[in-house]
């Protein structure tokens, strides 16, 4: 069984898997390593390890700013793989790389997947590589045994959803609402229909992301999906920690912030009784 599959199947007490996203190297390598370890220790089942990019089209201001911090500090793919292998040493949970297509293309598709394997990654998400452009990448990913996790959106036609689900690996990432990543006050009801539709075309787990700001939405999603993806709300906690006057305090605030938040989310998705 793949680590991604077992991360979802481990959920006996919980209604859904918790999947946090953090950028590599925000605010610095060591803090970010410790942040990943903290979320894994306090309840995450899979983590998305973000590779910073200069032009993140699918991201809202919070994750954009995080990428800027990370790039300014000099972090690139080699650090993403370094991060992944450091995490792999002490976890058997799912490690999923998140990168826009251009950095991956310039690094080399074969080289990227080879390094993904040797660093211990399980899957990859490429938010700007839709089905029609992904044939080559899917082929290389399959050959290397890395699961290429596709996205479906509220605007995807049923025909597209069927096609995407058929070639999906790992899990299917349902985009909850129109727009870029970022916390939203209200979760659209449409996402339930999307999850239901995707489920009719795949037996893979279905996770929902984009716009999850906290416990109530995580609980709502856990009611009908297999995984809850949370990005901007985590990254905002890191951003807030940077306002503290000294390094020690910033570090403590960031770790406390994400660990507290992970507990809140874990609690929220643990008391969902049954799936609809």
């Amino acid at each position: 069984m793949t680590r991604i599959k077992s991360a979802f199947e481990r959920q006996t007490a919980r209604a859904a898997a918790l999947i946090p996203f953090l950028n590599t190297g925000d605010p610095d390598f060591d803090t970010s390593l410790e942040l990943f370890r903290t979320v894994l220790r306090t309840g995450a089942d899979i983590v998305e390890i973000g590779a910073p990019y200069s032009d993140p089209l699918a991201d809202g201001p919070v994750i954009q700013a995080s990428a800027v911090r990370s790039l300014r500090a000099g972090f690139q793919f080699p650090h993403v793989f370094e991060m992944t292998s450091r995490l792999r040493r002490d976890t058997d949970k799912g490690l999923v790389l998140f990168s826009y297509f251009n950095p991956l293309l310039q690094y080399g598709i074969d080289r990227f997947f080879a390094d993904a394997v040797s660093s211990g990654a399980d899957g990859v998400i490429i938010p700007d590589l839709p089905f029609e452009e992904s044939a080559l990448v899917r082929q290389v990913a399959d050959r290397q045994g890395i699961e290429l996790i596709p996205l479906v959106a509220p605007t995807s036609s049923e025909e597209r959803i069927a096609k995407i689900c058929e070639e999906a690996r790992g899990f299917v990432y349902c985009v909850s609402s129109l727009g870029v990543t970022g916390e939203r006050a209200k979760m659209s009801e449409r996402v339930q229909d999307l999850v239901r539709l995707a489920r009719s075309y795949t037996r893979l787990p279905i996770a929902v992301g984009f716009g999850v700001s906290g416990a109530p939405q995580a609980r709502f999603i856990a009611g009908f999906a297999d995984g809850v993806i949370v990005g901007s709300a985590y990254v905002r906690r890191i951003e807030e920690s940077l306002e503290a006057p000294d390094q020690t305090e910033r570090y403590a605030l960031a770790i406390d912030g994400v660990s507290q938040f992970t507990k809140e989310l874990t609690d929220a998705i643990s008391d969902v009784s049954a799936k609809s």
Binding site: Y53, S54, D55, L57, A58, G60, P61, Q64, L71, Q76, F77, F101, N102, P103, L104, L105, Q106, Y107, P127, D128, L129, P130, F131, E132, E133, P150, L151, V152, A153, P154, T155, S156, S157, R160, I164, V175, L178, G179, V180
Partner: protein, 404 residues
């Protein structure tokens, strides 16, 4: 007809370039746009309406003017100017915005958005939005809003909302990012009027098709005036819409040399330029594979040019293809050379070119000089320089540089 004019293919590819590298949320909208474009533009009523507005509203056909004193000054080929600067709003941009606005309305959209660099495309979009009663939002880099304050004011006068793009380099690249992000959120009721031959398929094709009137007219006007095709055609290239519109009808005429002029800023070796072909490598930006200024890790590097309209780190996929296939040549012109040409054309012809177009003028000086007087060269004078006068006055402290 050569195969090169049959592109893009059904996947939106010009050879290795183009495609649709966008978030899944936009894929259905792009498919819908492609279908609507095919369906409506095949319709005679659409073409009649487009022709009407291009003629009666924008003032087409624009003249092909023999620049006699400029030709004498340079010495060499006869130089003609395709006067796109005489369009309504002062640049070629309106050819495309009229076409896309008519398309948007037929698709039932009541709201349009656009990105803009120098502000010319923003003004052209705000103009047609006003004319057709569409709600309009324009994204513009914060830095460009300062450089082109007059155009910001103009767009607001026309009733458009202008939103500053404050991320990244705060120029055209980031304005385009913001426009795409906004479109992802409002894709169901908003039409995105892209201003250049960039972006995901089918945009590079749509913009080219609406701009090809530049080349179609030029071709016929040359045949009328000279009884033969021009030997050389020169246009400036940022994203590349005026150049693509000018080049496209000549692509199959192998005797016509096509020269695209990239902004070399402070020089190709200075690191401060916008020469995507001169110094870039193939990569993906704004949904399309094209030549791109980037570092070894695929991070997009900032472009620089004296002209906001060329200040873009990529070049449209069809230009990338014309370069790779060798059909067109792309050459660099620096800020200083463009500025010198700006003065030269003003003083020899009484025509103040846009700083963007001045790059093409500067290259024409070099190229015409090496040609014989019985050969002809056409410059696509994509826009007029009124918008740049304030910037140049500021740069020179209000002193006109009499050296030039």
């Amino acid at each position: 007809m050569k195969t090169t004019t049959q592109l893009p293919d059904k996947n939106g590819r010009f050879g290795d370039f183009g495609g649709r590298y966008v978030p899944e949320t936009l894929m259905s909208a792009l498919a819908e746009l492609e279908q609507a474009y095919e369906r409506f533009t095949a319709n005679k009523s659409f073409q009649d309406e487009l022709a009407y507005y291009l003629k009666s509203y924008s003032g087409r056909p624009t003249p092909l003017y023999f620049a006699e004193r400029f030709t004498e000054h340079v010495g060499g080929a006869k130089v003609y100017l395709k006067r796109e600067d005489l369009n309504h709003t002062g640049a070629h941009k309106i050819n495309n915005t009229i076409g896309q606005a008519l398309l948007a309305m037929r698709m039932g959209k009541k709201r349009v958005i656009a990105e803009t660099g120098a502000g010319q495309h923003g003004v052209a979009t705000a103009t047609v939005a006003a004319r057709f009663g569409l709600e309009c939002t324009v994204f513009m880099g914060e830095e460009d809003m300062e450089r082109q304050a007059l155009n910001v004011f103009r767009m607001r006068m026309l009733g458009a909302e202008v939103v500053p793009a404050t991320s990244g380099t705060k120029t055209l690249k980031d304005a385009t990012n913001e426009a795409i992000r906004h479109w992802v959120e409002h894709v169901e009721d908003t039409y995105y009027i892209i201003g250049s031959v960039v972006g995901p398929h089918p945009y590079p094709r749509i913009v080219r098709d609406f701009q090809r009137i530049i080349g179609d007219e030029t071709r016929q006007q040359m045949l009328d005036l000279e009884g033969r095709l021009p030997h050389t055609v020169i246009a400036c290239v940022g994203g590349g819409s005026n150049a693509m519109g000018m080049f496209y009808p000549f692509v199959a005429d192998e005797s016509v040399r096509l020269i695209g002029v990239e902004a070399a800023g402070k020089g190709l070796e200075s690191g401060l330029h916008a020469a995507s072909i001169g110094k870039g490598t193939p990569g993906v930006l704004h949904g399309s594979m094209m030549y791109l200024l980037q570092d070894e890790f695929g991070q997009v590097t900032p472009a620089h040019s004296i002209s906001a309209g060329l200040d873009y780190p990529g070049i449209g996929p069809e230009h990338s293809y014309l370069h790779a296939s060798g059909r067109a040549q792309y050459v660099p012109i620096t800020d200083d050379e463009a500025l010198e040409a700006f003065y030269l054309l003003s003083k020899t012809e009484g025509i103040i070119p846009a700083l963007e177009s001045a790059h093409a003028v500067a290259q024409a000086q070099k190229t015409a000089r090496e040609m014989s007087p019985d050969e002809s060269l056409v410059i696509c004078l994509s826009g007029r320089g009124d918008k740049d006068v304030e910037q140049i006055a500021r740069m020179t402290g209000g002193v006109v540089d009499d050296e030039n």
